[in-house]
Point group: C2
Chain length 349, copies 2
């Protein structure tokens, strides 16, 4: 009988953040692909697009005109999934099957730059630092609102990730409840903290830094790695080295270092298939419920859909939806591919 070889044999890996498993099939990377191909991102965009509702000075669908902004610009989402209105709700007991609760919140859009044709990897560090500072400010201001207990900062990049406007921007959805994925994560972080008296992600990062094989890029304050339990082919996570529960606690040095690692990671992403690399990213950090959250450690997830080229993505479908997430290429192999790429953008090479 052969001995188990993690680089060759089908196996499951455990994700301690959400208490779920992922099925890994390394041998399957060789299968041919005859299915759907994605459109390649159109890179030929003007710096200013008169038709874009996010460009400075343009008027949005609801008649409001954008400021002539020169750095990160924030406004309330015109088609918000959440509303601020106070609603009267009478709970008719805790019905198992028809449990519904009104949800209050605020959705905002954050334009990263006035320039329509840039994305994070192509921006200068000052611009990215401005974005980070804007996230800090929004986290603090939204979090200070009495009924807001969670602030979700995220970006959908690329049309394949449901982004309907290529102007560089992200979103913030702030709300009264902890969203499902955050609550799950918090439960596992808390359990670990109780059991070990230390922080799960701080401990994890230490081990990863010692091993090195899943690290993509690092600097004095942050590391970007492919987690051992990654689901998406080139999924990564940026983790702060210091124990920091929330973005507003970053020192000035950390703001600068975070901008650097954001730029380096997204450049490597673009370089992988020499395309504007699509992803959804999002920050997980302490909720804004006024409590102390030593179990949290600031981290940012990147979930990119591409698998083999600029046009072939991984489909999380039948088995994945009914059973369990599945990946072909191993986390170690993906990390190595990303690590080995230049951190100079392919367009300026």
């Amino acid at each position: 009988m052969r001995n188990f070889d993690i680089n060759e044999d089908p196996h499951r890996r455990y994700n301690p953040l959400i208490n779920e498993w992922v099925l890994v099939s390394p041998h399957r990377a060789k299968r041919p692909w005859q299915g759907q191909k994605e459109a390649v991102a159109n890179d030929d965009r003007p710096e200013y697009d008169p038709e874009c509702y996010l460009c400075p000075g343009n008027t949005r669908a609801n008649g409001v005109t954008n400021e002539n902004y020169t750095s990160a610009f924030v406004f309330e989402n015109d088609f918000a999934a959440l509303k601020q209105e106070e609603i009267n709700f009478v709970d008719n007991g805790s019905d198992t099957f028809f449990k519904a609760r009104p949800e209050k919140g605020i959705s905002k859009v954050v334009c990263f730059s006035p320039k329509h044709n840039l994305t994070l990897p192509e921006m200068d560090l000052n611009t990215i630092e401005d974005v980070v500072k804007t996230w800090q400010k929004e986290y603090v201001e939204l979090g200070a609102i009495d009924y807001i207990n969670h602030v979700q900062i995220f970006e959908n990049k690329g049309s394949v990730m449901g982004c309907s406007n290529p102007h560089p921007h992200g979103q913030i959805w702030a709300q009264s409840s902890l969203p499902t994925q955050v609550e799950k994560t918090q439960n596992n972080l808390q359990e670990y903290y109780k059991k070990h008296g230390s922080n799960l992600l701080v401990d994890y990062l230490q081990k990863e830094l010692a091993l090195g094989e899943r690290i993509v890029v690092e600097n004095d304050h942050f590391a970007a790695l492919v987690p051992f339990w990654a689901v998406w082919p080139f999924e990564t996570m940026i983790i702060s080295k210091r124990h920091v529960t929330k973005i507003s606690d970053f020192t000035e040095d950390e703001v600068a270092a975070f901008a650097v690692i954001l730029k380096k990671l997204t450049i490597k992403y673009d370089n992988l298939f020499e395309t504007s690399f699509p992803y959804s990213s999002g920050i997980h950090q302490a909720p804004t419920d006024g409590l102390d959250h030593p179990e949290w450690q600031f981290h940012m997830h990147f979930y990119p859909p591409l698998l083999r080229s600029a046009t072939v993505k991984k489909f999380m479908v039948g088995y994945e939806m009914m059973g369990e997430s599945q990946r072909d290429i191993t986390a170690e192999k993906s990390a190595q591919m990303l690590r080995d790429l230049s951190d100079v953008h392919y367009k300026i090479k």
Copy 2:
């Protein structure tokens, strides 16, 4: 202060099967869509395609020739995510961060019909009954293998769902572990069973049949409904009316009735946007671990991606990945739209 209106106000609904919430934003259905459009399925296919590796008599990539099959045809997946080989594994203790376990299993492909140009809604009932009987047989035979504890039957339909060949077919992944989603579901079903001494989905279906507003189609033995906690815009679930833990326990009448409801539901789906409606579907039922599973009730999930038309889908991206699933249209509205559609296929109207 206004009173909460479930048809208008943002709210969260609770899914008791997996203990997760979904954010519902009914007012958001009106936002314009300028993003990615999906390709419309090409319906102009020949009954037999010499290039198709699933058509009868054709040779597959690995050199094997398909039988000249006339009804459902099963073979082992040439690019299986699971392997049957026995692997020697030594567990080095229970490391929190780097937990991996080899996984044994079998992946099969089930061709639903020899005809390349048909899909379930267009097949005659005999053909669909044959598919159901094939699922029964595979569930029993695979389940009887000593190390197989779970048999996942599923279908990816349409290129937008990662299906690389339009020839009507589904898959079966049988394996030693309970996949994450199944284990989660089983935990919640067991908890309910212990607490109430009755079956969660049997009780739920009774309430839904009494209310009627989320029922799409029903017959003597099955009902198809949009669950109260549905995530995908037109997500449905077929549930058996009798308490049946697994497909192999279906009576002959139930096999026939299941074929009828499969056909009616998928016809309504095709009629919704007058297109070959993409989805991932999958059966959840008792595991094949040799134990008694009164907590399970046979059901089949349908997760279709389309939202507004044949080309506009719902993107489960940034907020959904980091936070929580989100939908615009309510489950009640979707159910009504599907219920009101004809059960005669649009192509033969």
